[in-house]
C-alpha cells in the first residue's frame, strides 16, 4: 500500500494542517466553529492524548479523522490519504465514546460481523473473535445479545471490535468510560502493549490520570484550538523543585535530614509525608486476591491473555519467546523512554533518584548500610507482583475467573 510506504518513510500517521470545522445551519449560515485552525501530527508508534473540556473540539477532530465529518478548511490526512479513503480504514480501529453496536447481535456475532467488514475469512474471524472475547473477559457471555450488557461489558466488546483488524492506528474515544478499575487497568495495559508493537494510538479522555499514564504526548484543546501540546515530561515537570523518596527512615536519621533541610530552607519551603497507594492500585490488589480465591461473578471478568494475533500472531516457541520478551521488558528496571515502562509501574509514585540522595551533605546518610539493605526486598516484592500479573495477562495460566 503506497500510503503505508509513505508513512514508513516519513513516520507521520496523521497530519492536520490549518484544520477548520464549521457547523452551518439549514441556510448555510455559520452556526459554530468547533475546530479552528488545528495543526498537529501524530507519528508512528506514538500514543497521543487529546484532552479538553466538553465542546473543545476533541470529538469533532476524531470524527474528521474517521471521515464521519468533513473539514471546512485545511488539510487532514491519515496514512497519507484522505480520511474518507476506504483502503486507509483497513489500518484503523475505532472505539467510540457511546455504544453504537447492534443490540440484537450477540457478542460473538458482533465480532464476526465487524471481522467480515475487513474481509477476513470465516476461520480467521472465529479465531480472532474467540481470542478477543477471552481477552476482554466476555467469553462466558459470547452468546448474549449486546443489548443486555452492562455499560462496562459494552465497552469491552466495543474495544474488542476495535481490535479485530489488528489496527495500525487505534482511535479510542473515552476508552475507560464505564469500566471498573480492573477494566481500566486492562485497557491501559493493552495500550502499552500496542505501543510496544509499534502501533499508533490516539486517546481522548476526561480522566486525566488515564492520559497521563498511557500517553507519550498530549494535545490540550479549548474552543477548538490547541492550547498546549508536548510530551508529558515537557508539560508536567515542575522546574525548581525536587522530591526524594526513601524507605522509612529511623527517627534519628529523619532528624538529621530535617536539620539539614532547616539549615538551608524555611519550614514552608519543604514538606515530608508518607507516600500513599493510589485507590486504583489498592482496588486492583483486592480484586486480584478475590480472583485468586475463585470468587464467582456474572459481569465481565478480568481479561484473559492478549489475543494471539495482537501479540504478533506467534505460535508455540515463538509465542513463548515473545511473551518472555514482553515479560522481561515489562519487569526490567525503568528505562528513560515511557514506552518501556513496565505494566505494573506506578507512575504516580515518586521516583527514587539516588544521585540526588547522595548529594545530601550528611555523611551518616551515605555510610549507613541499612537503607539500601531495607529497600532491596521491597523492590523485589514489587517485581514479583508485577510478574504474577503479567503472567496472568499473557498466558492465562493462573485462575482469572
Amino acid at each position: 500500500m503506497a500510503a503505508t510506504e509513505e508513512v514508513k518513510s516519513s513516520g507521520v500517521v496523521v497530519s492536520a494542517v490549518g484544520l477548520v470545522k464549521e457547523f452551518r445551519d439549514f441556510w448555510n449560515k455559520p452556526k459554530a466553529k468547533a475546530v479552528n485552525d488545528l495543526d498537529f501530527e501524530v507519528r508512528e508508534g506514538e500514543v497521543l492524548g487529546l484532552l479538553g473540556p466538553n465542546g473543545s473540539g476533541k470529538s469533532t477532530t476524531v470524527k474528521m479523522l474517521l471521515g464521519l465529518l468533513y473539514p471546512t478548511a485545511g488539510r487532514l490526512t491519515v496514512f497519507g490519504k484522505s480520511p474518507r479513503d476506504v483502503d486507509t480504514k483497513r489500518l484503523i480501529g475505532y472505539l467510540p465514546e457511546e455504544s453504537y453496536l447492534y443490540k440484537y447481535l450477540t457478542a460473538y456475532e458482533t465480532l464476526d460481523f465487524f471481522g467480515s467488514l475487513f474481509n477476513l475469512s470465516a476461520l480467521e474471524r472465529r479465531k480472532r473473535a474467540e481470542q478477543l472475547l477471552e481477552m476482554v473477559g466476555l467469553s462466558h457471555a459470547k452468546n448474549r445479545p449486546v443489548g443486555e450488557f452492562s455499560k462496562g461489558m459494552t465497552r469491552r466488546i466495543g474495544l474488542a471490535q476495535a481490535m479485530i483488524n489488528d489496527p495500525s492506528l487505534l482511535i479510542l474515544d473515552e476508552p475507560t468510560s464505564g469500566l471498573d478499575p480492573l477494566g481500566c487497568r486492562e485497557v491501559k495495559d493493552l495500550i502499552h502493549l500496542l505501543k510496544k508493537r509499534g502501533k499508533t494510538v490516539i486517546v481522548t479522555s476526561h480522566l486525566l490520570s488515564d492520559i497521563e499514564e498511557v500517553c507519550d504526548r498530549v494535545i490540550i484543546l479549548y474552543g477548538g484550538q490547541i492550547r498546549a501540546q508536548g510530551t508529558l515530561n515537557e508539560l508536567l515537570t515542575i522546574s525548581g523543585t525536587d522530591r526524594i523518596t526513601t524507605p522509612q527512615l529511623k527517627p534519628e536519621i529523619m532528624e538529621k535530614v530535617l536539620s539539614i533541610l532547616r539549615s538551608q530552607l524555611t519550614e514552608e519551603e519543604f514538606r515530608i509525608d508518607h507516600p500513599r497507594m493510589s485507590l486504583e492500585e489498592f482496588f486492583l490488589d483486592v480484586v486480584n486476591r478475590a480472583q485468586a480465591e475463585s470468587v464467582e461473578t456474572y459481569g465481565a471478568r478480568s481479561g484473559g491473555q492478549i489475543a494471539n494475533y495482537l501479540s504478533g500472531g506467534a505460535e508455540s516457541e515463538e509465542e513463548l519467546k515473545a511473551k518472555q520478551e514482553l515479560l522481561d521488558s515489562l519487569t526490567r528496571k525503568e528505562e528513560p523512554a515511557p514506552a518501556e515502562k513496565p505494566v505494573e509501574e506506578k507512575p504516580a509514585e515518586p521516583v527514587v533518584d539516588t544521585t540526588r540522595l547522595e548529594g545530601l551533605s550528611d555523611d551518616a546518610l551515605q555510610t549507613k548500610p541499612e537503607a539500601p539493605a531495607e529497600s532491596q526486598p521491597e523492590e523485589e516484592e514489587d517485581l514479583s507482583e508485577a510478574n504474577e500479573k503479567l503472567k496472568d495477562m499473557l498466558s492465562g495460566l493462573s485462575g482469572k475467573e
Binding site: 457547523f23 470524527k63 474517521l66 471521515g67 464521519l68 465529518l69 468533513y70 476506504v86 483502503d87 486507509t88 480504514k89 483497513r90 484503523i92 475505532y94 467510540p96 457511546e98 453504537y100 453496536l101 447492534y102 440484537y104 447481535l105 456475532e109 460481523f113 465487524f114 467480515s116 467488514l117 475487513f118 474481509n119 477476513l120 471490535q161 483488524n165
Partner: protein, 480 residues
C-alpha cells in the same frame, strides 16, 4: 464480497429480531391462513376459489409492501441516527456497498416471505380444489377458466389515430358543405373535441343497435390452435329484468373457414394438403344475456381461428330503439387462449409482486438514504399515491376543464404528465386480479415493468439516493 454479504445478513437479522417486523409477519401468517377460511365468494365453489386466489395473494402483497417500506426506512435511517452506521463506515467498506447490502437484505427477506406465502396459498388452494366433488365438466371448466394462464386478444381497432383524423376531416368538410359553424379547434378545446371524437369512434366500434349486428376482427392469434377459445365479454345496457337485473337478447356468430382437403397431395408432414377453403358463418342459438356481468363461453379453436385471425360477431335481437347494446372494445369481447399452466402463471404473478416489492424497496431506500425516518416514510407514501392517482388526475382535468380554468388545466395536466413520466405506478406490479381470472401474466408485461419502471424510472432515483448517502456527513445526523 464478504462485507457485502455480512451487511445483507445483518439486515436480515435486524428484521427478524425486530418487534415491528414480527408483528407484520404475524399479520402475514394470519392473512395467509385466515383469509382463505373466511371468504365465501359468490356462493359457488368456483367463486370461492377465485376470490381466495385473488384476496389471499393481494393481502400478502399489501402486507409485504407495507413491511418493505417500513424496513427499508428503518434500516437506513435508524442506523444513521443511532450512530451504528458510524461503526460500519469507519471500516474498509464503501458506502455504496453498505447501501447495496442493506437494500439487498431488505429485498431478500421479503422475497423469501413472498415465496413462502405463495407456496402456502398454492398448496392450500390445490387442497381445497381437490377435496371438492366437482363433476368432470366442472373440473374441466375450472382448469380452462381459472387454473390456467390465458392470453387475451381484444378486437383489432386498426389505426385509431387515423380514424380520428379522417372523422375530423369528414366533419369539417360536412360543416363547410352545409355552411354550418365549425367547432372550436384551438388549444384545450381542440384537445377536448379530439378526445370526444375518439371516444365516439370507440363507442361506435362497440355499439350494437337493435336488430343490427357487429363483427370484430382479431389478429395476432396462433396459426393453429386446437384447444378451446374462450370468448369473454361484458355487455352494457338492456332491459330491467324481474329481479331488477338488466337483460338483453342476442346471438353470437363466427367466421368458419372450411378447409377442403386433397388426399392426392400431401404436405410436408405427410397429411393431405388443403385444396381450397370456404368461408361459412356459424351461429350460436339466441340467448338471454345478463348485462353488466362478465361472462365467458368457449368455441373450438380450429373452428374460430384461421391463419392467425378470427372474426366474431354479435347480433342484437332487441327491437326497441333504446335497447342498444354496448361493448367496451378495448376490453371485450376478448378471445382467451390457453398459453401456459396455472403454476406458471402463478409464478409469474409472484414475480410481478416481487418486482413491485423491489420497486417499493428501491423508492424507500433511496429516500431513507438521506432523510430522517418519518420524512422518508412520508415521501415514499406521497410518491406512491401520486403515482397511483396521476392517471386519474389527467382524465379528471381533461374531463372537467372549463374555459375559466384553462391555465390551471394546462398546469395540472403538464404536472400530471411529468409525474407519470417520472414516477413508478407501483399498482401495475400487483396482478392478483389477472391470476384469479386465469389471464396470462405476460413476460413482456413484466419485462416492460422492469425496464421502463424499475430501471428507467427507479434507477435515477436510486443513484441519487446512493450519491447523497455517499457524500453526507453522517455524524451530523445523529440523535443526541
Amino acid at each position: 464480497m464478504t462485507p457485502f454479504l455480512a451487511i445483507v445478513k445483518l439486515t436480515c437479522r435486524s428484521a427478524v429480531r425486530s418487534n415491528v417486523f414480527r408483528f407484520l409477519l404475524f399479520l402475514l401468517i394470519v392473512c395467509v391462513i385466515l383469509v382463505p377460511n373466511t371468504l365465501k365468494g359468490d356462493g359457488t365453489v368456483r367463486g370461492y376459489l377465485q376470490v381466495m386466489l385473488e384476496y389471499s395473494t393481494a393481502f400478502v402483497a399489501v402486507i409485504l409492501s407495507t413491511s418493505v417500506i417500513w424496513l427499508a426506512c428503518k434500516e437506513f435511517c435508524t442506523d444513521v441516527e443511532n450512530g451504528q452506521l458510524h461503526m460500519i463506515v469507519v471500516k474498509p467498506v464503501s458506502r455504496v456497498t453498505v447501501w447495496l447490502g442493506k437494500f439487498t437484505g431488505v429485498f431478500l427477506i421479503h422475497f423469501v416471505l413472498l415465496a413462502i406465502s405463495f407456496a402456502f396459498i398454492y398448496v392450500f388452494l390445490m387442497f381445497q380444489y381437490n377435496r371438492q366433488n366437482f363433476t368432470p365438466a366442472e373440473r374441466a371448466r375450472m382448469e380452462n377458466e381459472v387454473f390456467v394462464g390465458r392470453r387475451a386478444f381484444t378486437p383489432d381497432l386498426g389505426d385509431l389515430n387515423q380514424k380520428v383524423k379522417d372523422e375530423l376531416a369528414r366533419r369539417v368538410a360536412t360543416a363547410k358543405k352545409l355552411g354550418e359553424a365549425l367547432p372550436e379547434m384551438d388549444g384545450a378545446a381542440r384537445r377536448k373535441y379530439v378526445q370526444s371524437v375518439r371516444m365516439e369512434i370507440l363507442a361506435g366500434m362497440g355499439e350494437v343497435r337493435p336488430g343490427k349486428s357487429k363483427i370484430w376482427h382479431y389478429t395476432g392469434l396462433p396459426e393453429s390452435y386446437d384447444g378451446p377459445v374462450y370468448i369473454g365479454f361484458r355487455i352494457y345496457s338492456g332491459n330491467i329484468g324481474s329481479k331488477n337485473q338488466k337483460i338483453g337478447e342476442g346471438f353470437w356468430f363466427f367466421r368458419y373457414v372450411q378447409r377442403i382437403l386433397d388426399d392426392n397431395i400431401k404436405d410436408r408432414n405427410g397429411k393431405p394438403a388443403v385444396k381450397e377453403t370456404r368461408e361459412l358463418p356459424l351461429q350460436l342459438p339466441p340467448e338471454q344475456i345478463l348485462t353488466s356481468a362478465y361472462k365467458e363461453f368457449s368455441v373450438p379453436g380450429d373452428i374460430l381461428i384461421y391463419n392467425g385471425t378470427a372474426y366474431v360477431g354479435f347480433a342484437n335481437l332487441q327491437t326497441k330503439e333504446s335497447e342498444v347494446m354496448h361493448f367496451q372494445v378495448t376490453e371485450s369481447p376478448c378471445l382467451l387462449l390457453k398459453e401456459t399452466s396455472f403454476l406458471s402463471n402463478y409464478l409469474r404473478a409472484m414475480l410481478g409482486i416481487a418486482l413491485g416489492i423491489l420497486a417499493l424497496g428501491l423508492i424507500a431506500s433511496s429516500f431513507a438514504a438521506f432523510l430522517s425516518m418519518p420524512t422518508a416514510v412520508f415521501l415514499t407514501l406521497s410518491y406512491l399515491l401520486t403515482g397511483l392517482f396521476s392517471h386519474y388526475l389527467i382524465s379528471s382535468i381533461e374531463s372537467t376543464g372549463g374555459d375559466n380554468l384553462e391555465l390551471m388545466d394546462k398546469v395540472g395536466s403538464v404536472l400530471a404528465r411529468i409525474m407519470i413520466s417520472l414516477l413508478i405506478p407501483v399498482q401495475e406490479f400487483f396482478v392478483s386480479g389477472h391470476l384469479a381470472t386465469g389471464t396470462l401474466i405476460e413476460f413482456s408485461h413484466l419485462g416492460a415493468l422492469l425496464v421502463f419502471n424499475i430501471i428507467l424510472k427507479g434507477l435515477p432515483l436510486c443513484l441519487l439516493g446512493i450519491w447523497l448517502y455517499w457524500r453526507r456527513e453522517l455524524a451530523l445526523s445523529m440523535k443526541q
